[in-house]
Amino acid sequence: MLLGLQFVDLSLHHRARGQQLAGQPIALFGGHPLKVLQCNDEAAQQGVAVGQKLATATALCDALVLLQGDDGEDRATLETLAEWAYGFSAQVHLVAPDTLVLEVSSMLRLFDGLDNWLAQLKADLIRHGLPWRGALAQTPLAAQCLAQNGTALAQIAPADPALSQAALHPLSLAQLQRPEAARLASMGIQTLAQLMALPRSELGRRSGADLLLWLQRLLGERPDPRGYFQPPKHYRRKLVLLEEIEHLQGLRFPLKRLFAELGDLLRRRQLALPQLDILLHHRHRPTTVVSLRGAGNEHRSEAWMALCQLKLERLVLFEPVMELELVGERLQPQQVHSERLFAGGAPDGQAQDLLAQLAARLGEERIHGLQAVGEHRPEYASRVVAPGQGQDSRQSVITTLQRPCWLLTQPQPVSRTDYQLLRGPERIESGWWQAGAIARDYFQAQCPQGRLCWLFHSSDGWFLHGWF
């Protein structure tokens, strides 16, 4: 027995869930030209309909809340739901964009019967807050089709084989999403019942093997092998210490062992981790968590050990440690490092080590990269980025101009007479569309101490803005 579970207008409701939008008309849009892809009941009541041009929809409904569709996100949403469903069935099949099929029979002993299983499932579904409908049937296809064409939301139709067959019969081929639906309908063959009444051989001659195979699978006359959802792997290793350890020094040895084991595993499976948590379990106090983060995906045990050393130096233990646990949530394929032919771009291995160590020692929030931006206004001509991110800025036009390396955060008012103007003016007038609009004449000048500096003149007077 299988359960089909369809989350109606999943992307719309999933996205609306996070926002305070109860009772408002909402539509999901996308495509070109822009069209309504999904809409909720409130919107439908005002005449908004799927497939409508966005302009029509907004004309019909002033207050319409618009959400932009995103296929990638939809897939991720369904996978998250599959992960949840994995708790109810070992065999979960994803039917994009919004349907799951769960194998039920083998789970019934574990859950003590169908009613219990369903009750727990429904309780969870209610917590999700997403509209759904479901149906039980004997084949995956039937379960999927019945769910997608169920009459009521938040209902699961019974699994009696006779009943589910009967429920399928009146469904039209269009509802069953068969590509041949329009063609068959043009011959007056609309419903599954009508299709089943035709001689199979004649049907096969006209519609090909695909439809026959589908029909046989739907009716359970042929097996329907499918790929099943596999939850993502993560790493978790617990070590019960032989004796309670009071000093951090004492943790070094068992940790080293754990890291070695991890490194070995990662090397063998060609995997790496972006982050690793060390959990120190105590007798009374809550668990101490030490998070290690490499500068990229890391798989070398010595690298983890080195980062761990830096972190532990700053840690204070308030209670002895009883158990050690390593948790890596996101195992990812290793990237093979090769030497770059040309300099520039992402930092190389050594630089990554340095970055990771600096971050561990100073705190990540204190490390930045700087990138030049093609913009006339000096204040906007550079930007803070994550270390190692952003493109190589040596090619940027700005850097070829005569601009100072040291730009003052705030221009300082100065007296014109103290300075000797050497070059200029360079006039910069831009940004009228923002609060940061400026109109200045810049000069290179020499200050009384002989240093080369950058001055500008604006309606507010003379200012020093940087040092060469």
């Binding site: 822009l34 007056g188 913009e375 006039r427 007038e429 609060a435 940061g436 309606s459």
Partner: protein, 1067 residues
């Protein structure tokens, strides 16, 4: 503040030599006339317009320069790749914005010293443009060898002056004293170094330096617009643009005192010296007619006289009536005086070609309605049969070029165009351009995008703005929609606040050149030296860089070769009738334009009953409503009828007065004798554009020249809004001469209306002819007429379905598409000795003409015996067979649709190997229901010969309480009724404020629904989207015109779907 400047009078003299107008599309923020006006105001000696590889803006600048008495220098600028690329023979670099904006690219300006030099530049632009697709050009240094530019000056701005020595030597050797180095100071970073390098290069190579300003706007206040244009051009928002925008606002026309501060005196003096060397004016251009039109040894005037006299005998027989001969002599004398021989002869030549090819045509326009044109066969208006006042049409006082447009059958116009290209060659004939300008929607979209506003939001704004709302300007409407707050960011400055002023400025900006619908310029020599020619978007089409206003301003003549669907239909109708007649009696004389019986009362009777579906020009809803009110009884009434339902007369409130006077409800009177002379033919009410212009002369004292300006302003009002300057003059003039202010006001509103859509009497006169001919054919040969209309689709106002229904209501018989009988086109078949219309395969969607030909080639005499034979013989693909089955065209061979498709599917999938092995089982499928059949008909052929869907719904009791369209005449005025119908038309005429006309179709005919703006707003959903509409409303009757003013609207579209469960795409 940076850039402080004063405008003290200064002794320095300056000519700006580098200035882009907005005809360097999306690169400059000022119109040519704004630049000229500003340059004159600042006291410049001269201004050069140097649009990038273009002459598109120079005529506008030329006109403005004449007004401001400023020397205009004609030139063009070009961007060339850097020397590295130039030396590389293998890689001609495509000029693009990247080159223009890159540091290595070179920029050169060529200025015309004389007519010869101008021609040299035009030829270069043509060469560079013709190498590339529309909108691009490509040039390299080899194109610029000095020898080919004997009469041009070159101003050169090297990309890297430090590395320019080698190129400088080459250029100096070729261009000698015609080469200058361009020195521009716009306070850019690193400018000081560049200036030094330029000076060094100049002294090393002995090339004079000349100052210029890289001007892209006439005043610095245009900087925001310039930034927006830069963003549009480079496809980025202002936020993203960064250094792709101009760093500052220095690229404007600067005051002389400021220039004095920026440049050394000798650089400034050099500008004036350069200007003095450029003595070319566009006024020197002379149009020379193609000489081959006149036989060798003959004078154009004599030749024209000979041809006209030949034509007169052809038209009028041996003895030409004296009155006509006198008119001919008078007209020919005028042609002599105005030297228009070649113009008439050019058209005569084209028309003769069309006649030889049996392509139907019809001339129109002021000069077309002359006896000369009638004799030359350009028009069919017989002056002795139709009461036309000929002397109006060609007059000496009106200083305007002769205006003749020739309409050809729309499906055969291409033959005429190819004839012209063939006869004169591409170097001598090209289409005029049409400047595509920013309109409200495009401006709002582009500005919105650059300001970073959401696409969806901008669409919402467009949707929420009613441009026709006269009470609220669009600016205020946008403000009400809250644009000022749109795009607000954390720092509080919403980008939306800039939207309105920027859209205001951008409106009317030229965006690109497109091809004019059919205006040809034909020259005696190479056109390339008169005006640059570039590729159009359409393959094998070339357009000149000037539009029709430019041509007119320079007195160049163009010939309009237009396409008209109705001419195709009329020619086809004659052919069908003649075929039918000769089949019955081989001796029946053929019917043609000249055999049409004019002024038949029965034809006018038909029109008076608003029975005009398919009739040229008067079939639209507004026109057919006017018919019973105006009640046309003669040809001239039709001329008025066609012209009266237009923005001009409507906005001038001239319609009702005219109707009242016509119906005798108001006395015909004239404010003066002078006015009477102008308005007598329209009962004292000005209807035509010509009358209004004439009124400006006789009643407001406009001189001939001023009236001419007024006419031009009317033609281009939409783009330039120049009309308002005439308002005071007109009103004062009329007040001085004792006319009432109300009358003056009315006239001016009418002028504005004509500005929106000009429609002169001369065109109306030609159109009325075709209107009569089509009405005549509709009355006497309804089946042939409908057949011809259907074969000429797409054209006209109505769908094939509506045309067929109209024919059926007139008792015509229509036979279905049938694979055994139909041809590609619709045909006339004999049915009980009467004409019947057999629908053709052309109606079947997704059946190509090639497939239909394939079928017709193998169809046995007696038709196909079964589906198997059909498939085997024709070898048609699945799609074509499917389309035939879907149109129910296989009834004769396979039975109803379902069965036909089932059988076809069996044929298509059958593999030869199994054909004999598998005995097929007979399957009998249920026939589609009537409702389904009708829906399938609509889907596959766009019409149904079965019952109307409304008839079915009525039978099913879905429309209880609803009247039919046919019952409306029995209702009394003011009666409350219910009505339902398919929505076949939604129309919002620009002339009726806030009203929407919806046409509802049911099984008995069409009903006209009037929806007021408030009603529409309150019930937007059914108003906007319903396909089947039920309405409760009030009947309004005025004579024979019946409207239903809509109250409650109800969307019944679902009912259509219910006719057939799986059909959602009805219509």
């Amino acid at each position: 503040m940076a850039g402080s400047e004063d405008r003290k009078p200064s002794q320095v003299a300056y000519a700006e030599l580098h200035c882009h107008s907005n005809y360097s599309f999306l690169y400059s923020a000022s119109h040519p006339d704004e630049l000229v006006a500003r340059a004159a105001e600042l006291g410049y000696q001269a201004l050069a317009i140097t649009d990038e590889c273009s002459m598109a803006g120079v005529v506008k600048a030329h006109q403005a320069a004449k007004r401001h008495d400023l020397q205009l220098i004609i030139g063009s600028s070009f961007v060339l790749p850097g020397p590295a690329a130039a030396n590389d023979e293998a890689s001609p670099v495509e000029q693009a914005q990247t080159v223009r904006d890159s540091a290595d690219g070179h920029m050169v300006i060529l200025l015309a010293q004389s007519r010869t030099g101008y021609g040299q530049i035009c030829r270069l632009i043509t060469t560079a443009r013709r190498r590339c697709d529309k909108g691009h050009y490509r040039l390299d240094w080899r194109d610029l060898s000095g020898a080919a530019f004997s009469d041009c000056l070159m101003l050169w701005a090297p990309g890297q002056p430090q590395q320019g020595a080698i190129l400088a030597q080459t250029l100096k050797a070729q261009w000698q004293d015609r080469l200058y180095l361009l020195l521009e100071r716009i306070l850019a970073p690193g400018e000081g170094d560049r200036l030094m390098a330029l000076q060094q290069l100049a002294s090393q190579q002995d090339i004079p330096l000349v100052a210029a300003g890289q001007v892209r706007m006439h005043c610095r206040e245009r900087k925001p617009l310039l930034d927006v244009l830069d963003g549009i051009r480079q496809g980025c928002t202002l936020e993203q643009a960064g250094e792709r925008l101009a760093a500052n606002a220095e690229a404007y026309l600067r005051s002389l005192s400021l220039l004095q501060k920026r440049y050394q005196p000798q650089w400034l003096a050099q500008t004036v010296a350069v200007a003095a060397r450029c003595q070319f004016s566009l006024d020197e251009l002379r149009y020379e007619y193609p000489a081959e039109l006149v036989p060798k040894g003959m004078d154009a005037s004599d030749y024209l006289r000979r041809e006209v006299s030949k034509g007169a005998h052809w038209r009028f027989g041996r003895s030409v009536p004296d009155k006509v001969q006198a008119q001919i002599d008078k007209e020919l004398q005028l042609v002599d005086e105005l030297q228009y021989h070649y113009f008439f002869l050019t058209i005569y030549d084209i028309v003769q070609f069309a006649r030889a090819q049996r392509i139907l045509f019809q001339g129109r326009g002021s000069a077309a309605n002359s006896v000369v044109c009638y004799c030359l066969g350009i028009t069919e208006v017989d002056p002795t049969k139709v009461n036309l006042l000929f002397e109006r049409f060609l007059s000496k006082e009106r200083n305007e070029p002769p205006d003749i447009d020739v309409d050809f059958e729309h499906q055969r116009r291409e033959e005429v165009i190819q004839y012209i290209y063939g006869k004169y060659g591409r170097e001598r004939a090209a289409l005029a351009a049409t400047v595509i300008s920013y309109r409200f929607k495009s401006a709002l979209r582009d500005v919105g995008k650059v300001l970073g506003l959401d696409d969806a939001y901008v669409e919402h704004l467009i949707r929420g703005t009613d441009r026709r709302d006269k009470t609220l300007r669009w600016q205020d409407q946008l403000t009400q929609l809250g644009v000022a707050e749109a795009g607000s960011t954390h720092d509080g400055a919403g980008a939306g606040q800039f939207l309105i002023p920027l859209v205001e400025q951008l409106l009317g900006f030229p965006r690109h050149l497109s091809q004019h619908v059919g205006g040809f310029v034909i020259a005696s020599g190479s056109l390339y030296e008169l005006v640059p020619v570039e590729n159009a978007a359409m393959a094998d089409r070339t357009v000149i860089q000037w539009d029709k206003d430019d041509l007119e301003a320079l007195g160049l003549l163009k010939v309009d070769i237009l396409a008209l669907g109705m001419l195709s239909a009329i020619r086809r109708c004659f052919d069908l009738i003649n075929q039918w007649n000769t089949a019955k009696d081989a001796l029946t004389p053929p019917l043609g334009m000249s055999e049409v019986q004019w002024e038949q009362p029965e034809v006018y009777n038909m029109l008076c009953q608003a029975d005009s579906i398919g009739v040229f020009q008067i079939e639209s809803r507004a026109q057919s409503n006017m018919l019973p009110r105006l009640r046309p009884r003669c040809y001239y009434d039709l001329v008025v009828q066609i012209a009266i339902v237009r923005p001009g007369p409507i906005q001038g409130d001239m319609v009702h007065p005219y109707l009242k006077r016509r119906n005798g409800q108001e006395a015909v009177s004239y404010p003066s004798e002078a006015v009477k002379a102008v308005l007598a033919r329209t009962l004292g009410v000005p209807i035509f554009q010509e009358q209004v212009i004439k009124l400006a002369m006789v009643a407001a004292g406009f001189s001939g020249g001023e009236a001419d300006q007024l006419r031009r302003a009317m033609a281009s009002w939409k783009r330039h809004g120049e009309l308002d300057q005439f308002e005071r003059k007109l009103k004062n003039g009329m007040a001085e001469r004792g006319y009432s202010a109300a009358f003056a006001d009315q006239i001016f509103r009418q002028i504005r209306g004509f500005g929106e859509y000009g429609f002169p009497e001369s065109h109306s006169a030609s159109f009325a002819l075709l209107a009569y001919v089509s009405a005549y054919l509709k009355y006497h040969y309804p089946v042939a007429f409908t057949c011809a209309l259907l074969n000429s689709q797409p054209m006209g106002f109505y769908t094939p379905s509506q045309l067929v229904q109209d024919l059926q209501r007139h008792g015509g018989r229509v036979l279905p598409v049938d694979v055994q009988r139909s041809e590609w086109d619709h045909q006339i078949e004999a049915h009980d000795g009467q004409m019947a219309l057999r629908l053709g395969f052309r109606l079947v969607k997704s059946l190509s003409q090639a497939a239909a030909k394939q079928l017709l080639a193998v169809r046995p005499q007696g038709g196909f015996s079964d589906v198997h034979q059909l498939v085997q013989l024709t070898g048609l693909d699945k799609g074509a067979l499917e389309a035939l089955a879907g149109s129910d065209a296989l009834v004769g061979v396979a039975g109803h649709r379902h069965q036909a498709r089932w059988l076809l599917a069996g044929e298509a999938e059958q593999l030869p190997l199994f054909a004999e092995l598998q005995a097929s089982t007979e399957v009998a499928l249920a026939a589609p229901s009537e409702g389904e059949s009708i829906l399938h008909d609509y889907r596959q052929i766009g019409l149904s010969l079965g019952r109307h869907p409304l008839s079915l719904l009525r039978e099913q009791g879905e429309l209880a309480g609803c009247l039919t369209a046919a019952q409306l005449p029995e209702c009394r005025h003011g009666q409350l009724i219910q009505l339902a119908g398919l929505v076949v038309g939604r129309q919002r005429p620009g002339t009726a404020s806030g009203v929407t006309f919806i046409t509802l179709e049911d099984e008995t005919g069409n009903a006209n629904l009037v929806v007021w703006a408030d009603t529409a707003r309150a019930q937007r959903q059914p108003y906007l989207t319903a396909k089947l509409l039920k309405v409760r409303g009030i009947v309004e009757k005025e004579g024979e015109v019946i409207h239903v003013v809509a109250g409650r609207l109800q969307d019944l579209s679902d009912k259509i779907a219910e006719l057939s469960v799986n059909s959602r795409d009805f219509h």
